[in-house]
């Protein structure tokens, strides 16, 4: 058994998998990654399944390894024993290696470790911070925490780097569709003005600062919500529901961030600016399918290729991918 020892957990590091399904009716948040694109790419690179548990890092991070492990970091900068690695790398580590993750773009990085041992609680390995269970003891990682790793069996495993452009998630454009209470909005054009992420933002929700929205009515009969829902409380400043959001809410929901752009928010830190762009539901649906199939294309190439250098061109405005194996 290998182990990873956390030296510095940064602002907030938690274990997250694809999310906790089937318990929303009991008030359980779904949790899971704030940036599902980086999360899935990190897992695929490390030879994991797309929704396997990994470490979601906010800001910088440092850990030391005992034993052998195969890990990847997306999208932050990985520094192994003081040497900066190429971005989007998966690489072998051995006893005594120190890995630093430097958040030089965005806000959250995903450290995927092949064979990371996390106990399942209520059908998921995600940390449910609001209720304090799941993941690593139901809490954020602290300095000195140790997580077991099953050493990879495949001796053929090679270091590899994905040449990957996911610049869109570092931009400030966030596409939204009209929400159930859109018609209560008296100044709809205001929603497309610039908003700043407030310091009072976390995995539960992002509070926005900027122009106030004027609604005919702010309160509704509480109803179920989904991540990306934009609620407007009586002060007129929107709140975006994020991964650990409460499952029901009683403020008007004027719009919904599309799934494809939730990672844009996940990579934003307090004081970053965003701008909403309204799109049709039909476009939101198409983008959902398109982004999912991009990730599948990356997965397919990484799983099936024995080439040293190969390229996945999945086109479109989103990102192109080239994969080369090194070392």
């Amino acid at each position: 058994m290998a182990r990873i020892i956390v030296n510095n957990p940064g602002f907030l590091s938690t274990i997250q998998d694809g999310g906790r399904f089937g318990f929303a009716r009991y008030g359980l948040p779904r949790s899971g990654p704030m940036d599902w694109i980086s999360f899935e790419i990190a897992n695929i690179l490390a030879g994991n399944k797309r929704n396997d548990p990994l470490i979601e890092i906010t800001g910088n991070f440092e850990a030391t390894f005992e034993g052998r492990a195969f890990v990847s970091v997306v999208p932050g900068r990985a520094i192994l024993n003081g040497k900066s690695l190429e971005r989007f790398s998966a690489f072998r580590v051995k006893s005594g290696d120190t890995l630093k993750i430097f958040c030089d773009r965005g806000f959250r990085s995903y450290l995927a470790v092949n064979g990371l041992q996390i106990e399942e609680v209520l059908s998921s390995k995600s940390t449910c911070l609001p209720a304090g269970f799941g993941g690593f003891g139901g809490r954020k990682l602290l300095s000195g925490d140790i997580i077991d790793i099953i050493e990879y069996g495949n001796s053929e495993i090679k270091d590899r780097t994905l040449v990957c452009d996911i610049d869109r998630i570092f931009g400030n454009a966030v596409r939204i569709v009209k929400g159930p209470q859109w018609n209560l909005l008296k100044n709809p054009q205001t929603l497309e003005s610039e908003y700043t992420i407030s310091p009072d933002s976390n995995r539960i929700g992002y509070n926005l600062e900027g122009e106030r929205l004027d609604l005919e009515s702010y309160e509704i009969v509480s109803e179920g919500m989904i991540a990306g829902a934009i609620q407007v409380p009586p002060d007129g400043l929107p709140i975006i529901m994020m991964a650990d959001h409460p499952v029901t809410g009683g403020y008007s929901k004027v719009a919904n961030v599309i799934y494809a752009d939730l990672p844009v928010l996940g990579q934003k830190k307090p004081s970053d600016r965003i701008r909403f762009e309204i799109v049709d539901l039909d476009i939101a649906r198409k983008l959902y399918m398109k982004y999912k199939s991009w990730i599948r294309a990356i997965e397919f190439e990484l799983c099936n290729s024995s080439k040293d250098v190969y390229r996945v061109n999945v086109g479109g405005k989103g990102f192109t991918v080239e994969v080369k194996e090194i070392g």
């Binding site: 318990f23 009716r25 359980l28 209520l122 209720a131 509704i220 109803e223 179920g224 029901t248 649906r285």
Partner: protein, 208 residues
């Protein structure tokens, strides 16, 4: 019944815009209808609506709308409603707001305890935090929330806000008026389901 879209991954089936016994009945019926199907989606029942979450790669939104179209509330049997007995230590350090709520109802504390525990409550919605049930049944004076929520309410605390009652499953901040506490475990990750309460379950408070 109205169907509204919430993004590309959820729809809301609405039964009006008010908290009412009629809307609650419809929600219970739709919840039972969906539970009887082998569905490829998850849903949250609430006061007057059911929000359905889906993965567009697994099931299209047209298909869900078609399934909802087959819902015939009159064909759904009401079924047995389980009653959960909740032992409560009313007042003193367990219920710091009991005098306030008793005064509001123009009752002595003893009268109020008898009054509050005389009702059979029903879960009309879950939410706010894991395992938190919104209980209806109290017919006394509407209780205003605290002007400033307490930073710390202990798990098991029984609170009132408006005409709703609820029990805090975890230590947490809270703005409801606290009248007592139970030692029952409201939320237990080692059980499946983890929540003591669920939509439609009934509750009796037993003073101890």
């Amino acid at each position: 019944m109205v169907i509204e879209e919430m993004g590309e991954r959820a729809i809301i089936v609405k039964f009006g815009d008010e908290i009412s016994p009629d809307a609650h009945k419809m929600v219970i019926a739709l919840d039972r209808f969906l539970a009887g199907l082998k569905t490829l989606f998850e849903w949250i029942p609430s006061y007057a609506s059911v929000t359905i979450f889906y993965d567009p790669e697994v099931i299209g939104h047209e298909e869900i709308v078609r399934i909802i179209g087959q819902f015939r509330p009159e064909e759904i049997e009401e079924g047995e409603k389980e009653t959960i007995e909740v032992p409560v230590m009313y007042g003193s350090k367990y219920g710091p707001d009991i005098e306030f709520v008793s005064d509001l109802n123009k009752m002595t504390v003893e009268e109020f305890i008898k009054f509050h525990s005389s009702f059979i409550y029903e879960v009309w919605m879950m939410g706010f935090m894991p395992g938190f049930a919104y209980l209806y049944g109290y017919t006394g004076s509407k209780v205003p929330r605290l002007e400033r929520p307490r930073k710390y309410v202990m798990a098991g605390s029984v609170g009132i806000a408006g005409n709703q009652c609820g029990i805090y499953p975890f230590d947490s901040p809270g703005g409801w008026r606290i009248i007592g506490r139970t030692e029952l475990k409201i939320f237990d990750i080692h059980k499946n389901p983890p929540s003591l309460f669920d939509l439609g379950k009934r509750v009796r408070f037993i003073p101890i």
